[in-house]
């Protein structure tokens, strides 16, 4: 497995203990999702991202810190059920913050 060498620091940012917690969550969420409402799927993914993000906070760079702050605005029980449009808008907003973070980590992008 390769890492994009052009994005972000290569210094370890999470411990094995933190990584295994997220890994355990992802694996068991995959199994649990087979028996639960489909609308829980994005909630599980966001929760996994929050778990990983929580472990990254102490060593994260400033652009990543901003992304993690945006990620933390999701309530742990939020699903698309109550207001799908609002939920989509929140996810899209988070994706924009992610893009900003990636751009900041990459540095200036030359126009083609």
């Amino acid at each position: 497995m390769t890492v994009d060498a052009s994005i972000g620091s290569h210094n370890p940012i999470v411990s094995e203990a933190a990584a295994i917690e997220v890994l355990a969550y992802l694996i068991t969420a995959a199994r649990a999702q087979m028996d639960e409402a489909a609308e829980y799927a994005p909630m599980r993914l966001i929760t996994a991202a929050q778990k990983l993000g929580g472990h990254m906070v102490p060593k994260a760079s400033r652009p990543v810190q901003e992304l993690l702050r945006a990620l933390d605005t999701f309530a742990p029980t939020a699903t698309p059920r109550a207001d799908r449009d609002e939920y989509l808008a929140q996810l899209d907003g988070l994706c924009v913050v992610l893009a900003d973070c990636l751009l900041a980590l990459t540095g200036p992008v030359t126009s083609e």
Binding site: I20, E21, A24, Y25, I27, T28, A29, R31, A32, D35, E36, Y40, R44, T47, A75, P76, T77, T79, R81, A82
Partner: protein, 166 residues
């Protein structure tokens, strides 16, 4: 007018799922009181095919939480409700007989009420890996866990908002 036992009815109305628990320890005697209530749950044929296991060991609780995507609180104790499919088969139940799962629900409702009576917050969890939970709890292969009831004192600072109403 219908005569109502207000204390019982008000208790039902006041019960809430506790999704944020404090780090105040729950003493084993209180956990035992909750667990013993399971035997008072309505149960088909009084066969008691839903064994309950109390988990108070800190390491096991942490491991259970790691394999439970649906476990939002950090509990101080937990009660795991299983179905003994081996004993169920000996009675002639097919593996997925609905009644077996209904009785998981009656046990759960009874445990939740008992927890409330003991002053504990409780949170039922069904989104977890049954296979991993069975291994962590060293359950026989014929005993399949189906629900975890998290126990702990409610965090006075509150918790996440309730799930939206259907």
């Amino acid at each position: 007018m219908t005569a109502v036992d207000r204390a019982v009815y008000d208790a039902l109305r006041a019960r809430r799922v506790t999704r944020r628990m404090s780090d105040r320890a729950v003493d084993p005697e209180t956990v035992g009181l909750v667990v013993r209530a399971a035997k008072f749950a309505p149960n088909a044929g009084n066969r008691r095919l839903q064994p309950v296991v109390a988990v108070t060991n800190g390491t096991k609780l942490r491991l259970l939480r790691l394999i439970s995507p649906g476990m939002i609180p950090v509990p101080q104790a937990a009660v795991v409700i299983s179905i003994d499919v081996g004993r169920a088969a000996s009675y002639g139940f097919p593996p997925r007989a609905p009644g077996l799962y209904v009785d998981v629900g009656t046990v759960a409702a009874t445990l939740l009420t008992a927890a409330q009576a003991a002053g504990l917050g409780a949170c039922p969890v069904t989104s977890f890996s049954r296979a991993a939970a069975g291994r962590i709890l060293n359950l026989p292969e014929t005993v399949q866990p189906h629900m975890i009831i998290c126990l702990g004192y409610p965090d006075p600072t509150g918790g996440p908002p309730p799930m939206p109403k259907p």
